[in-house]
């Protein structure tokens, strides 16, 4: 867990750059104004609306109001598939048992409502020795290793 932010003790980042220092705006206000570099994507938002503006984005927060609402995984994949390189942060009801899949979908920061147990987090993130699918994390799928 690098760069544990001092003002926010639940924020976990897997990036070396400095976190954005201003609050994320909604997708609607982001599309209306040109200055914001941080946006917050709600489950019902269409992440593709952000694609024309990726170069001015440094932080995309994807909100999980309830951990069982999986739309945020697709939002993350869509942004990474389009080449978004900035911070992709899962916020809200983010639990330790979901973080491994979130990492696979391209999230590189977590700001959960309830703090994650550090040991459980390490265990969860080192759980999968292999992966069956290609995804935003660019891990080599099993099928690729089989035919290397």
């Amino acid at each position: 867990m690098d760069n544990l932010s001092s003002e926010n003790d639940t924020l976990i980042r897997y990036r070396d750059d400095e976190p954005v220092d201003h609050a994320a705006v909604t997708v609607d206000s982001f599309l209306d104004q040109s200055s914001a570099s941080a946006v917050r994507v709600e489950p019902g938002d269409d992440a593709r609306e952000l694609l024309p503006h990726l170069e001015r984005l440094s932080l995309v927060e994807v909100n999980f109001p309830a951990f069982g609402d999986g739309r945020g995984y697709s939002s993350a994949q869509i942004l990474r598939e389009a080449g978004y390189q900035g911070e992709l942060r899962a916020v809200g009801d983010v639990l330790v048992d979901q973080v491994a899949y979130m990492r696979r979908c391209g999230f590189d920061a977590f700001d959960p409502d309830a703090p994650l147990n550090e040991a459980d987090l390490e265990t969860a993130l080192s759980r999968w020795p292999e992966v069956y699918q290609g995804a935003a994390d660019k891990r080599t799928p099993i099928w690729s290793k089989r035919h290397a």
Binding site: P43, F67, G68, D69, G70, R71, Y73, S74, Q77, E81, L95, D97, Q98, A100, Y101, M102, R104, C105, N117, D120, T123, R127, W128, P129, E130, V131, Y132, Q133, G134, A135, P141, I142, W143, S144, K145, R146, H147
Partner: protein, 544 residues
């Protein structure tokens, strides 16, 4: 059949470790039940009416004798000596302890089995034709495609928190033995005019409280785009499927509300985008998987002659065997529907016998049918009498495949916390009634399916005769439906009228059967007669 390599094994082993850890955190109180529930469900563990229930995946219904032995051992070691084969070709155990669940998963992993994604809002175990690789009428063996999709859908990072459960069936014959068009995605492997193999995609079927028949959204997806197209179908669903109401969250509602055309347009756009993402395994991977499904070494010139001097044996052969692609072979069905028995239940002892018979007579292979019976797919005709004799001795020789006694029934209120009425006693009484009145033979092919609630696990919408149990002011009540089919002539059954009590529904089924016997023309099944004469004569006889 497919065998794990070190990668598959590593994934299943990791899952065992993960679930042990999750169960431990639940027992320690680090996870609430609300948090634990989706995790245990994704490992097939329910909290049912009496205890925890574990559903074990049997991918596309195929297993070998070693695996069947392991299932028998688990029933004995951790449960109460029996298991229940389900309408999605799986097996479930009714009396599991949470503290044993990790050990059971470990025992399963030893024989290349698991309970991964057998419940929860994720892509479930993929089902297929129970005669795959054996049927005379199939184009190719559909199971390699099912296995390719099994690997793609296992631990899928983007599609593990879908709006609702997601079921896929794959077939490769014009005869549909897997209720393909009543799945979230039904795939039929087909050949195009150029002679190339591809996949037809049917999306948005399902039973439950709003039954729908899946429309064909793509007639031909090339085989080297199969995973990509499935991924596109799922992404559109994950993003746009309804999450405001769990009863409207299945993909059938999305396809219905959006319209099949618009859904297809969005899938195609997503597909075009995904083609550049490199998510499709190389064709060599499909070829690797295919090598596991090559034909066993069938004996050349095996005799197709049957000694029919024993009428009981002859009846069993006529009813319980299916045409095989190899001369001198058949697929033989072991009925788990003894008269008065519990549909789909098998004891450990019966499982072991079926495993041993598979080893002796069927190249070590067994299949689970969605109709809750077991298939020995490759049996020499010359061995049929010995096989039947062994089954008869063990009480597994019922000659009633596809008859009115071959009833699909969900566990119902005897086991299920969602049920409104008991299904099993109704099934027992109907099979007893028709065994006693001798009408089974005259009725011929008649599919009777019973669900104990509108979730329709007993496929009542798809029964030639369907029965739906409801709760009428605290009393079990049963509605009668007619005219459904899950096969290639797929249709949804219609309710006849007011419901019946338990005794009344058994009488009502007999009344409907009698209308058919009176009205049928040559060669007509019950379903054909119903389609020709309509509901009115049945209503008249039932409610007069």
């Amino acid at each position: 059949m497919y065998l794990y390599d070190q990668y598959d094994q590593a994934m299943v082993d990791a899952r065992v470790a993960e679930f042990r850890d999750q169960a431990q955190r639940r027992l320690e109180g680090k996870l609430t039940e609300d948090q634990f529930k989706p995790l245990r469900l994704m490992n097939g563990l329910y909290l049912q009416l009496h205890a925890y229930m574990l559903r074990v995946a049997i991918p596309y219904g195929t297993l070998n004798s070693r695996q069947m032995h392991a299932l028998a051992d688990i029933a004995e070691k951790y449960d109460r000596g029996y298991g229940h084969f389900t309408t999605r070709q799986n097996i479930q155990y009714n009396w599991i302890k949470l503290e044993d669940a990790g050990d059971i998963l470990a025992d399963l992993a030893e024989v290349e089995m698991h309970a991964i994604q057998t419940s929860g809002n994720c892509i479930r175990n993929i089902s297929s034709d129970h005669f795959a690789g054996a049927a005379a009428d199939e184009l190719v063996d559909p199971r390699p495609y099912a296995e390719l999709l099994r690997q793609w859908s296992s631990f899928h990072p983007e599609f593990s928190y879908l709006p609702r459960k997601f079921k896929i069936a794959v077939i490769a014959s014009d005869t549909d033995r897997a209720a393909m068009r009543l799945h979230d995605i039904g795939i039929q492997i087909v050949k195009n005019d150029a002679g190339e193999l591809g996949a037809a995609f049917y999306v948005g079927g399902g039973m439950g409280r709003t039954p729908m028949i899946a429309p064909c959204i793509k007639e031909f997806v090339p085989l080297d785009r199969l995973v990509t197209y499935a991924e596109a179908c799922l992404r559109v669903y994950n993003r746009h499927g309804r999450r405001d109401n769990k009863y409207k969250a299945r993909i059938k509602i999305l396809v219905h509300e959006m319209g099949a055309e618009e859904y297809t347009r969005q899938v195609d756009a997503e597909f075009d985008h995904m083609l550049s993402q490199g998510i499709e395994p190389p064709f060599a991977e499909l070829e690797r998987i295919r090598t596991f499904f090559e034909d066993p070494l069938f004996e050349e010139g095996a005799s197709a002659e049957i000694d029919r001097s024993d009428p009981d044996f002859a009846l069993w052969v006529d009813r319980n065997t299916h045409a095989h692609k190899a001369d001198g072979y058949v697929s033989a069905v072991i009925s788990l529907k003894p008269v008065g028995g519990i549909p789909g239940d098998a004891t450990s002892e019966q499982m072991r016998l079926m495993a041993d018979l598979a080893k002796d007579y069927s190249f070590d292979e067994l299949r689970v049918m969605h109709t809750q019976n077991i298939v020995l797919p490759h049996v020499r005709v010359a061995d049929l009498h010995a096989l039947w004799t062994a089954l008869e001795e063990a009480g597994l020789g019922s000659s009633n495949l596809d008859t009115i006694e071959d009833i699909i029934a969900c566990p119902g209120l005897d086991y299920c916390s969602l049920a409104n009425a008991r299904s099993i006693p109704v099934a027992q009484k109907i099979s007893e009634r028709f065994a006693a009145n001798g009408k089974t033979e005259a009725l011929g092919k008649l599919k009777l399916k019973i669900s104990g609630c509108i979730n329709a696990c007993g496929h009542h919408h798809a029964g030639h005769i369907g029965i739906l149990g409801v709760d009428k002011k605290g009393v079990e009540n049963y509605q009668l439906l007619l005219g459904g089919s899950e096969a290639e002539d797929v249709s949804l059954a219609k309710i006849t009228g007011p419901g019946f009590d338990e005794a009344g529904i058994v009488d009502a089924v007999e009344t409907a059967a009698d209308v058919y016997l009176r009205e049928r023309e040559d060669g007509e099944r019950f379903l054909d007669t119903y389609r020709r004469i309509g509901m009115a004569p049945f209503k008249e006889a039932l409610y007069g």
